[in-house]
């Protein structure tokens, strides 16, 4: 592997979670999102020669991602995206501001999930592993969709706080 390929690989692996998050904020369909990510990888490889190293790599990647999401929308001939073009631009800027260190903070997530209660882990299993929406989870657990939505919101807050705590401890150490 030449030096350039090694460099692209390293940069992509660091930035991939940000690009994936941007795409998932724009496209709800999981399969479509995976297809778009493949197209982005191909486009990144093809156009890496044109990348100007003086520009932020993540912003450059998100520009490619933005184009691929747009192509996906046009290919379908109907707008299945979640936001309009202006909002998409706002989100590109917002995700461009996410740093690699922001991504690394999320590495504490696994430990935080282990600390959840059994009930909350079951909810996460149903939502993220089985890909059920709140209404489906509610039917499974015999509660209301509204209750499930609130519980999922609380769990995410809890995980975010747990990660912040880990980061603070690490910084103090």
């Amino acid at each position: 592997m030449d030096e350039k390929t090694r460099e692209l690989t390293r940069m992509w692996m660091s930035a991939q979670p940000i690009v994936a998050s941007f795409v998932s904020s724009m496209v709800s369909d999981f399969t479509a999102r995976d297809d778009i990510m493949q197209e982005i990888i191909t486009a990144v490889i093809e156009s890496f020669d044109t990348y100007d190293p003086s520009r932020p790599f993540i912003a450059w990647l998100l520009g490619i991602a933005r184009n691929q999401v747009g192509l996906y929308r046009r290919k379908l001939s109907r707008d299945r995206g979640l936001f309009d073009e202006t909002t998409a631009d706002v989100l590109v800027e917002a995700f461009s501001r996410v740093s690699i260190s922001d991504v690394r903070r999320l590495e504490f997530l696994q430990d935080c999930i282990e600390r959840l209660s059994d009930r909350d882990r079951e909810l996460c299993d149903l939502r993220y592993e089985q890909n059920l929406k709140p209404s489906g989870i509610a039917a499974r657990l015999g509660t209301t969709a509204n209750n499930v939505s609130k519980a999922l919101q609380r769990i995410r807050d809890q995980l975010r706080n747990c990660i912040e705590l880990h980061v603070a401890r690490t910084e103090r150490a």
């Binding site: 941007f22 156009s47 979640l82 917002a94 922001d102 696994q110 995410r156 995980l159």
Partner: protein
């Protein structure tokens, strides 16, 4: 406006927002960069949780399938191992893709193709002869050796020859004229705003800009000879494996082979063009489904860049009666 941003963000993540709520979230995001940053952080976390669980699911499947876990082990430990394994697999797949594609050949082909599209849209009238090649020995190797008609002159539409002709203006407007087996001539055309069709003995039918383009050989895959809208060439770039042959020679050949998972479109397209000027000499199109009884492939050859009449691309020019039938199928 008072809105619960956290509720909207979480609703977005769970796919439970109504249209109005989604619009409200969009407005909230546009209201300030801090809002957008908060949203981005929430999506990052959500996505990471999803990846965590997907990794678990995939790796547990692998572990089960190869029956490695012969003895019960703590779930935490197994998850860590399989998550690391999955990361390696993802990295390997990425590296494989890098090796497979290589940054140069396909990128060079795409860059050249975009130059061709730009060249094809420069202001000019071009006349192409269409030949449905039947000879099975006329393989791609013979590219550029099939100039059967050296007469570098467009047909007179009032007295056209037997071969189908395609007339293109600025890469956007077209007239396609062909004779049926019974000798009757059919003409379709379009000027970007509307398309039209003329059948023998009938008034012209006029419709939307793309309605009659289906009658063209290869339809929307004719770029860079003919493009109806910006970005049309992406269909070829996305759905085909691209290769540039003879990249340093005076005549280059652009080869596009349909990817296995692509459903629609010709199975192969070749474009021969001048390496000096980018001028297309000919385009060969192999149909989606082979039909050896009829044709091996369609050959589109440039025969002229003569200026055509200003109103050549209107149906009135080609229809003696200047009649027009209204069309409700737009």
């Amino acid at each position: 406006m008072s809105i619960d941003a956290d509720w909207l963000i979480n609703g977005h993540l769970d796919g439970t927002l109504s249209t109005d709520e989604r619009a409200a979230l969009g407005e909230w995001l546009k209201a300030s960069s801090e809002n957008a940053d908060q949203f981005a952080r929430a999506v990052m976390l959500h996505n990471r949780i999803r990846v965590h669980y997907e990794s678990l699911r995939e790796t547990e499947k692998k572990v089960d399938s190869i029956r490695v876990a012969s003895a019960p082990r703590p779930r935490y430990s197994r998850r860590s191992i399989v998550a690391a394994s999955l990361a390696c697999i993802m990295l390997g797949a990425f590296l494989y893709l890098l090796q497979l594609s290589g940054p140069s050949p396909r990128a060079a082909a795409i860059a050249e193709f975009h130059q061709l599209v730009i060249q094809g849209r420069r202001p000019a009238d071009r006349t192409f002869r269409i030949t449905f090649v039947k000879d099975p020995s006329d393989r791609p190797d013979n590219l550029g050796k099939n100039s059967k008609n050296p007469e570098n002159k467009p047909d007179d539409p009032a007295n056209p020859g037997n071969e189908p002709m395609l007339y293109v203006r600025d890469g956007r407007q077209f007239v396609y004229s062909r004779k049926a087996l019974d000798g009757r001539r059919f003409i379709i055309g379009g000027n970007g705003q509307q398309s039209w069709a003329i059948k023998p003995g009938e008034p012209a039918e006029v419709s939307g800009p793309l309605n009659f383009t289906e009658g063209l050989p290869a339809g929307l895959y004719l770029a860079p000879v003919l493009s109806f809208f910006d970005g049309q060439e992406k269909m070829l770039v996305n759905d085909y494996n691209l290769e540039l042959r003879n990249p340093t020679k005076s005549t280059k050949v652009f080869v596009a082979v349909k990817k296995p998972d692509t459903k629609q479109g010709p199975r192969r397209i070749e474009i021969s063009f001048s390496g000096m000027t980018g001028q297309i000499a000919e385009m060969r199109i192999w149909p989606e489904t082979p039909d050896h009884r009829r044709t091996s492939h369609t050959l589109i050859q440039l025969v002229s860049e003569q200026k055509l009449a200003d109103n050549w691309f209107t149906h009135e020019f080609h229809h003696p009666d200047h009649q027009q039938k209204s069309d409700a199928s737009i």
